[in-house]
Symmetry: C3
Subunit: 345 residues, 3 copies
């Protein structure tokens, strides 16, 4: 990669403050910047580094007001994160080969309906009655069960397992090792203490623009559907049980688990390692901090929660603060008891 800052500014519709002729070879983080690198300021925690960075250029918010001398050329944009995303897209296109075609050996049932410009890697297995859209990329060692559908432009990375009857929309990304459509965890207890498996006959639906991280697990519904709605993003090692529903544009960080039949609304933000018990409804735009345990439905939208079990965010922070003062509280109670003892005598 080799761009002038003028070229980059043109791609990003950015205003240049400084030398537009500098050449950029690579990206760097703001604290590790060096000549020839472009970086960005997206998180105000990193603002002090802008006065020290040796990067040639920094992408900043158009409202950024420096309170010191900055060596780097500034590129002022409406939204630094989106600008970086745009720029990295250009870079990525140069970096990774774009594959098309069907590699051998692969196992593709004669009934599979294949779109245009598809890539199917070696050792991929496509069972019968599958429909594959245009520009789909299916990497090596992927398994797709019968009757599944994969929409246009979707990318499925290696070693993913997609069980039968799964529907995946357009523009989805499924990272390596994820499992979609495995059986929900349902067993009927028997009198002798053993369990009889409840067959899981439903399916999984991923709407358009969904991204799943690596080694994430989405169970099929007992009957009906487990659904992830449009634009939702799930990180690595996330667990969705049978009949869960994830709302549009909801984002779930790594290692979170959601138990059966719980429905999350749209635009929720769920931190990592959160647990949500089954059969709940979580309102739109709920924010759940990492490691929280959600044990009841959230009815009002746009609220923040924290703790296990959850409390409203601010209240939980107070409880946590006083948890750290429990010894002080305990000692005060003892002192009070002594004082009252003395007063009474």
């Amino acid at each position: 990669m080799k761009f002038s800052l003028r070229q980059i500014a043109s791609i990003l519709h950015a205003e240049i403050e400084g030398d537009p002729n500098l050449e950029i070879h690579t990206f760097a983080s703001i604290e590790e910047g060096f000549p020839g690198a472009i970086t960005f300021l997206g998180n105000e925690k990193y603002t002090p580094f802008i006065y020290q960075t040796r990067a040639s250029a920094v992408i900043v918010d158009k409202d950024f007001l420096p309170n010191g001398k900055i060596q780097a050329t500034l590129l002022k944009v409406d939204d630094p994160y989106t600008a970086v995303a745009l720029l990295l897209e250009q870079v990525n296109k140069l970096k990774v080969s774009q594959k098309v075609g069907i590699e051998e050996p692969s196992q593709i049932h004669s009934s599979v309906r294949m779109g245009q410009n598809v890539f199917i890697g070696s050792f991929a297995y496509l069972d019968k009655d599958i429909v594959i859209g245009d520009e789909v990329k299916i990497y090596p060692n992927v398994y797709i069960g019968e009757g599944s559908e994969i929409g246009d432009n979707t990318i499925i990375f290696p070693n993913v397992t997609i069980y039968h009857g799964t529907k995946i929309g357009n523009n989805c990304i499924i990272h390596a090792g994820s499992c979609i459509g495995s059986d929900g965890f349902g067993f009927a207890p028997q009198e002798d203490g053993s369990f009889k498996k409840i067959p899981q006959t439903g399916t999984v639906v991923l709407e358009d623009g969904v991204e799943l991280g690596a080694n994430t697990c989405i169970d099929r519904a007992t009957f009906g559907q487990t659904i992830i709605r449009q634009g939702a993003k799930l990180d690595n090692l996330v667990q969705l049980a049978h009949n869960v529903e994830i709302g549009k544009n909801t984002v779930i960080a790594a290692q979170t688990g959601i138990a059966g039949s719980t429905k999350l609304g749209a635009n929720c933000m769920v931190g990592g390692q959160v647990g949500i018990v089954g059969h709940l409804e979580i309102a739109d735009r709920s924010m759940i901090d990492a490691q929280s345990g959600v044990n009841k439905s959230i009815k009002e939208s746009g609220k923040a929660f924290r703790g296990s079990p959850i409390q409203p965010h601010r209240q939980q922070l107070k409880s946590e603060l006083l948890f750290r003062k429990l010894e002080e509280m305990y000692n005060k109670i003892r002192d009070l008891e002594d004082q009252i003892q003395n007063l009474g005598s």
Copy 2:
């Protein structure tokens, strides 16, 4: 699928209350029922829906007493969950193709002993001295290491890795992406701060009727065996360390982790995201709530625990309640101090 309610009642040994001639095409949840669908009432939380459901039929406990008008035909059975399991089994048989035979290319060592009516998918790899029972299904992209044994009727879904020397019983189900027999996490600290690997030379044994969820990990023993006893069920993304033992019919929900050499008794119920430290013994029929941290052995059987670290269930609920009242308690202590100050003066 298309059954009359009379046919279904006959399969389930159910008593019909209502029209036995209705035709059933599909399953639905009770809150989403529609004409032509059959549903069930298994969790009393859903009882209100039985008076509203548009489903044609509802499977209910034979002791269910309605306290309102129900449109749907009722099928009364001893145990609704088991009835649903039976019915879904029939449905599943119609839905998924039953494969038999060995697909090519697959890699099967000449020394493998293969039972009757086995399915081996493409890109499966069976190393030497493996024994495969009758009616076993091994899906594509599965790896099985040398000397392993797979019992009759066991199903191994795609992308599973079974390391050498693993013994899996009859009627087991291993979901996609699970790893059985990876090295236990054992290292001897050295004087220079580095770690020397302790080779893990033991094995893993799964007795009959065990089910493992997707992307679950079972480490091999350092020496001896990691054992999952008959009928135990593990959900997705569960971690069992070396030399763990899981008792008969014990059920473990998703993302739970159990450290080395801990032994769980029979018929335990372990929630999701639980952590259990190493070298403990957990009595039969223990119940551990989700997200708990178990840091000591449980000696009395049939008790319920919760919290991190665990307390008896009821006591933990009280602590949790008062945790949410810590600010109130703190303020009361301050008030008391003020009052005593005033009394003393």
Copy 3:
């Protein structure tokens, strides 16, 4: 396996106390020992078993002083754990076949540079411009993306996915199902509530001697590198987000997750199911108990922490103790209020 104790003592540089002519056939744990087995005493919790074990021999610390009669022959060594590691290495060499060569069908791009004595299993996929060192073992169904490098003696177990541009050092072990180099979880929020993917253009570097457990996920950097330094050991189902750095010889137990850009120092010990938020720095030799939540940087090295959010270890234990006494504290406050009420009247 069949060794005399004299042979074993010679391998371990051990001092024999008892009969050196006993024959050893196998390993066993100290509580399950039997004649013909050798065991060891590494954890003082197990000391009582040394007086009961039926094992023929026990490896003990040279400073071990028995306070009762021991039947078994003792092998006294500097460090029992390291001695066991050495001995198990001998055993393992006899147990598992050592494979060399390239199995077919596998997919190896013509540009791959292959070292000496390499094993490549069937259905492995090596994309272009990959460099494979000497004595490397790549098991079946592994995928390695273009431009990756694998150092000498490294072992990659089945169903592992290594994305493009990953660098793995010498003497590493990657257990089955792990994913290295999947996209970091980065999205730029848009005004309509949707998210724009921030392409992840960086890489992952594993230095020499790193071990990753099964189904562990290491995300590639947004730009720059996600790094695991020399000798670090990660257990199963661990999650490292983009741009994380793990210091030399740091050990991380199963199901722990570390958010973006956090840097752990050298020789840290991190328990299972720990969560560490992003953009932190954790000092060398920090010790973090299982299930902790780390929400701030740790500046002083060698300290122990516990809890979510963390406190210094000892202080957290006090808080936990008093958490279990909250009901008692609450009742005392109420009593004090009553007594003051009475005093005042």
